[in-house]
Each structure stands twice: as C-alpha cells, then as structure tokens.
Subunit: 449 residues, 2 copies
C-alpha cells in the first residue's frame, strides 16, 4: 500500500520528491535485517544456552536459518532476497523489487560487512584487554612451536595428498595446502572467551599460536603470490612483510608497558566526560587502520589496541563497555558467518557437488588432525590439556578466505577445490565449539598459571 | 605508493583481484572519518567543558571544522572531499581520486547518515528511559498549551511577515511559516539531558511540548501538501495522520504500564546472557520501524520504546548501556549536524547571499521570540522558569528540514527562502544551548516535582 504510506509519511514524501527514495529503502532494510538477525540470534542462543552448547553455535545456526541456506533475508551480494522482505520494505517506501534488490546488493551488503568486521574487531579488542601480556610472553615459545607445527603439518599433508591422491597441479596443491594453515582468530578467540578457557595456560598458548599463525599465514600467501607472479620467491617483499609484522607486535608490547598507562593518565586529566572510553576507542580505530596499512588483518590491530590498554587501570571499565557494544556487533559478526554458509554445496544429489565434497572430506580431515597433532607439541613441565590446545586452533577463517578468493580469481584453484576450501572453513567453524566444550568440561581442572 | 601496499596487503590483493576494491576503500574511508570525527569532537568538547559551555556546542564546532565549512573531511553528497584524505586512503587501497569521491558520495554518505540517525534515536531512547511517565502526563495540559501556542505564533507571525514585509506569494509564506513550527527534538532533548534540566517540571513541560509540536508539525506539513496538490485540505488524510499518531502515543503509554514490566520479567527468565539488553534493543528497532510505517519520525518510535522500558526495574541498567553506545553514535549525530552547516551562506560579501540573509534575520527573530512567548503560556500555580521553557524549545531540526526539502524540490520555496530556513535552523541550534545554560544556571533552583 505505497500510496497510503506516501500520504502518511511526509519524511518519505520529502525524500521521494528529492528523487532519493533509496535512503528510506536502506533505513527500513537495515531495520528489518536487524530485527531478523537479533530475534533469531536470541532464539537460537537461548536453545544453545539451555542444552549447554556454546552460544556461538546459536548465532551460526541463526545465520543458517536467515541466510543463503534458509530464508534469504541476509544474503551475499547478488543472491535473491526473500519476497516477503520486499513486501515489508514496500510498506514503508514506495519502490520496486528491483530497486530493493539493488539496495541489498550495494549499501546493505557493505554496511552489514562493516558491522561484522567491527564485531570481529571488538572480539579481538576484548581478548586483548583480557590478555595478560606477561603470561602471554611466558608461553611464547610454546605458542611459537604450536604455531609453526600447526602451519607446517596441514601445508605439507594437504600439498602431498592433493598431489598424490587427487593429482592436482603443484601450484594448485600449494595454494590449497596454504589455505589450511591459519586459525580463524575471531571465532576461535570468541569460543575460548565464552568457555572461559582464555585465562588458563592452554588458552594463552592457543591465543599466542593463533596470532602467530595468522601472521605467518599472510607471509605464506605473500610467498605463493610471489611464486605465481614471478616464478620465484621475492625475498625482499617477504622480508618486508615479516619485518613490519615483527615491528608491529614489538611496538604493541612496548606500548603495553609504557604508553598505555601514560595514555590513560592523560585521559583522566581531561574534563569532558567519557574521555577514557572515547580515547580508547580512537586508539582502537587507529591501530586497526595502521594494521591495514602495513598489510596485516585489521583485527590484529584491534588485538594490539586491547593489549596496550589491558595493562592499565581502566581495563575493567573498558571490558564492560566493549561488552555492551558486543551485544550488538558481535552478533552481526557471528550470524553473518552462518548466513554466508551455503548448505546447497554439500547436497550430494547434485552431481557437480561430488568432486568438491570428496576433496572437502580430505581437507577437513587434514585441517582437524594436523592442528590436534600440533597441540601435542606444546612442551610444558606442567600437566596441560594438549588435546584442548589443538582443538582450540581447529577453526579456520579470515586468512583462509583470502587464499580462496585469490585462488578463485586467478584461476589457480578450480571451482571444485574452492568449494572444498569453503566447506572446510564451514566444517571446522561449526565443529570446534562443541568439541572444545566437551574436552574442557571433561577436564574441568584448567591449569591456572 | 600503491605498489608497496599491494604487496604488503594480501587482503587488499584478494579484493583487487576480485575486482572489488571499493570494500577496502570504504573500510579505510570510514576508519579515517571516524578518527577525524572522534578526535575533533574530543578536542572541542574538552574546550567547552573547560569554559563551561554545553558539550553539544563542542561537537557542533567540531563538525564546522571538519565539515563543508572547514576541512571538507565529512561533507554532504556531491561536495568535494579534502585531497589530503584522498592521499591517506590511497596509502591503503590502490584507487583513484574519482573512485574515492564516488565512495564518499555513495556508501560513506549513507552510512554516516545511518549512524547519525542511530545516534539521534539513542538520544530519544535514553530520554524516554529517563522520563517519568506520570510526571509527563501530569504536565500534559501545560505541554499541550505551550505546544499549540508555540506552533501557532511562528506560523502566523512568519506567514504575515513574509507576506507584508517581503511580499511573498501566499503558499510560499505558508510553507516558510510552517517550517518555523516544530522544535528540534533530538538536539533539544540532548541539551536538556546534559544540563540536567530534564527531570525538573520545566524539563518535562519542554519535552512533552516538543513531542507534541513535532507530531503537529507533521500534521501541518500534510495539510500544506494537501493544499498544494489538490488546492484543498484532504480531511481524510489529515484525520488519519492525527489518529495514527494518537493511537501510537496511547499504545506507548499503555505499554509503559502493563507490557514493559511483563516484557522484562519474561526476558529475565531466559538463560542466554544479555537477554534484557538485547530484548530491549529489539524493541527499540521495532518501534522506530513502526513509527516510520505510520508516517511519524522514527526517533518518536525510539522515544516510545524508552518510555515503555522506563517504567521497569531494568531502567538503570539500560540507561547505562545506552550511554556506552551514545559515546560513539551521539557524537556522530551531533558532529554531522555541524558538518552539514555551510557558513559560506552567511558570507555577506557574496551578493547572492544577501536576500537570504535578510529573510533569515527575520525568520530567526520570529523563531526565537515566538517560542519564548509560548513558554509564558505554561500555566502553573508553582513558580516555574517560563523563560527557560521557551528557550528550551528554540532549536529547530528534523521536521523543519522536511519543509525545506519539500519546498525546494516543488519550487514552492525559492532558493533564497530555502537558504534562510537553513540559516534559521543553524542559528537556533547554535544559540539555544548557551542561552539555556545561562538561564538555568542563574535560576539554579529548578522546580523538582
């Protein structure tokens, strides 16, 4: 009933006569997506809370239900949106289904991605805040060992298997093997936070190893690109990447000791209210941006900002404030992961899926077993849960999708292999939370350092 | 140095090879705008805090400095952005100035507007939470009198003055007069909250009157549109608008009494954490959306949601949570008002500005005096600060800009008159906070009911 709305809503009318209906369509689209995301998240979080599963699983399922595998409310660019949603939006803004689809493919898509990235950043910010730097450095060598083993094993096993079992070209096998390396930092950190593993020695080892393997994963990607483009490894570029990453981390560590406490003391002297909160938020944006400039994932910058502020007296207050923001944005991050997951890819009755599914089963096996084996390389004189450490690093995420994206567009990864990598990400993401829950509940005596 | 970045940043590379650089450009643009908005806001808030001015003024000035009157960092659609910002973005993403300008005109513009609207919604949500419904209803008749007088006087004086002093056509004078009617609810409420006037009888009268005159302002707009389009008043549509608004408000009042407490009790029974916060947030989105559907400003929906939740035991907790979100989004709302303010329009050395400036001076005089006179119509047996009540309603905002936008595109308002209306909005917005501060500090004994 566009006409009624047109008359009832002068705001709309003003926009329509401005020839700019899309602002109204966008606002109502975002409101509706928000309602669906938050209501379904609440519903499935409640179920997971009651049956004792991690809440992350609730959000992932909520995403499956409203996403591209389900109701088509929150869909990737280009996917058809639910006609029911179109009807709802037309209640508020006189428009056409085509225009709504265009708004979803354009701004809605970009805004949801932005929110999700902000949510992932908040996860890493709060992990940084909750981390104890001394403790993290204390387990540094253990983390490094786990990270290196956890990178090497899947790369080697993946590479060899794809060559000898599936007869893929060398460069394709290298790329697909590389895609198995880096832990999904955002989701892994979130699950550990929720299960309260983070403050244990195990949690700190996982966290340190995940941060390192994310950075090393990017290095591997740079090396592979170098090989593809020039046929050889460009040592200069690789060294540059490693060097900037090392400087970045060292700076954060130094800033934790000196800059952080000084910064908070300065903010305390300010007369305007909420200066500590806003000053910290500015630091968070700045570090995320700087991480992007020097070629790292921006969530590593968010983690560094958390680390810097985590050694200050404002820590508890900041953790509380971040948790309020997280109620909204973390939910968007987690639900949107589920929403992107296309279950149609695992439908075995579709013939074209079968090759991908076979390779996927192999990749999933390698991805899980190699990280679990890596966990046992966490040397320690104390009794620690090595199975738990490996399991904590099973999820794959952000960096892997860089491999997949790059491999697909350069043609290095054929469609079936690309689908297999995406399926591997989905499977490891969904399997890890319940596995961790089981392992750490059984062994409820976590090692507190 | 795009090449360096290209090599250092595999994330970017993946996107580039995806043929989709705009996501990266958007993310870095938003990060940079965030840094400018928040750093400048902090700087000017600090100054205003130290010299005892309302913080709102600090944000408005920050907006002037980074907006279309200043550095051109945060600009309206189509305005040229600062080349320095372009250079910064090119550090992260290999792109062209043209592409960056397009991203700013498109998604950046839409996202900032969305954030600003979310910020305005949060202001009204927290005002609703802090309002005492009983007290608001107690001063209902006083509010209604102030609202009606405060609408009638500027409409009549504006109309007559524009006809007899400036010889404008009847319909133009009606439109421009109508633009003087509605109080800027967002900014007015925010200033009162900051000066802690809100809980006094004066604050409640201002709030009630501002809500009513916003609704009545939309009714006047509907009537004027009706006259323009059909030459007569469409009684059916006007009645429909008044009726839906009345039902909307009555429903909120009823829900404050019955639904709110029941809703919170239900949320308390849920096992998933943060259910009260998220449940309330869902209610907030829902009511903002419903307000849009029935033709009201969405911030009225936000206020209603606050009112519904304000009578519950979760009130204090929710006020705290909203204040955390506000640190970010309210700042965007206030700074973006300043950023849109084009001071070039008041440059008297530009000949084409003069007609607008003359009319503006007249409109500003009418806008301020008529609301101040309206304040003296707040009948009360107690001693109340009637001058303060009128001053609290001086700022004009959202609804006025609907008149201006509609008047401009239909050609009813010639450019000079439109500029005059925009100048009136700017002047009343900037003058009201310091005036209120002076009036209520002098009369520091506010009437506590």
């Amino acid at each position: 009933m566009p006409t009624l709305v047109y008359w009832l809503d002068p705001d709309l009318l003003a926009i329509v006569t401005d020839g700019e209906n899309s602002a109204k369509v966008l606002a109502s689209s975002m409101a509706l997506i928000g309602l669906f995301v938050f209501i379904f998240s609440r519903f499935f979080r409640e179920i997971t809370a009651r049956i004792g599963l991690p809440l992350v699983i609730g959000d992932l399922i909520a995403g499956l239900v409203i996403g591209v595998s389900g109701l088509h409310i929150l869909v990737p660019e280009g996917a058809q949106i639910n006609p029911f949603l179109v009807n709802l939006i037309e209640l508020v803004a006189p428009t056409t289904p085509e225009e709504i689809q265009a708004v979803f493919d354009g701004p809605v898509h970009l805004i949801v991605e932005q929110y999700a990235e902000f949510g992932a950043g908040l996860v890493l910010l709060s992990i940084g805040l909750e981390s104890n730097l001394k403790q993290l450095l204390k387990v540094g060598w253990q983390s490094a060992t786990v990270a290196v083993v956890g990178l090497t094993l899947p790369l080697v096993f993946g590479f060899l298997g794809l060559i000898y079992l599936f007869h893929l070209p060398t460069i394709t096998a290298l790329f697909a093997g590389g895609a198995l390396t880096a832990t999904g930092l955002g989701i892994s950190a979130k699950v550990m936070q929720e299960l309260e593993i983070l403050k244990s020695t195990e949690g700190q080892i996982i966290l340190g190893a995940a941060i390192l393997d994310n950075i090393l994963g990017l290095v591997i990607l740079a090396i592979l690109i170098s090989i593809v483009e020039t046929g050889s490894i460009d040592v200069g570029n690789v060294a540059k990447l490693i060097l900037t990453a090392a400087i970045f981390i060292l700076t954060a560590v130094m800033m934790n000791l000196f800059f952080g406490p000084w910064f908070i003391t300065q903010l305390e002297k300010l007369k305007a209210p909420a200066s500590i909160g806003m000053g910290s938020f500015i630091l968070f944006i700045l570090w995320s941006f700087v991480a992007g400039i020097i070629g790292l994932e921006s969530i590593l910058g968010a983690f560094a900002a958390g680390l810097i502020l985590g050694g200050t007296k404002a820590r508890e207050e900041l953790i509380k404030s971040v948790s309020v923001l997280s109620i909204i944005f973390e939910t968007v991050f987690l639900v949107s992961i589920g929403a992107k997951t296309d279950l149609n890819l695992v439908n075995p009755t579709v013939a074209s899926n079968r090759e991908g599914i076979t390779v996927a089963l192999f990749l999933i096996t390698v991805a899980i077993t190699s990280k679990i084996i890596a966990g046992f390389f966490a040397f320690s004189s104390e009794k620690i849960n090595r199975l738990g450490i490996g399991t904590g690093m099973v999820p794959r995420g952000e960096v892997v999708l860089l491999f997949a994206g790059l491999g697909a567009t350069t043609g290095i990864l054929p469609p079936a292999i690309n689908v297999a990598i995406v399926l591997m990400v989905i499977a490891t993401t969904f399997l890890s939370p319940p596995l961790l829950r089981i392992i750490f509940t059984r062994d409820s005596q976590l090692t507190q350092p």
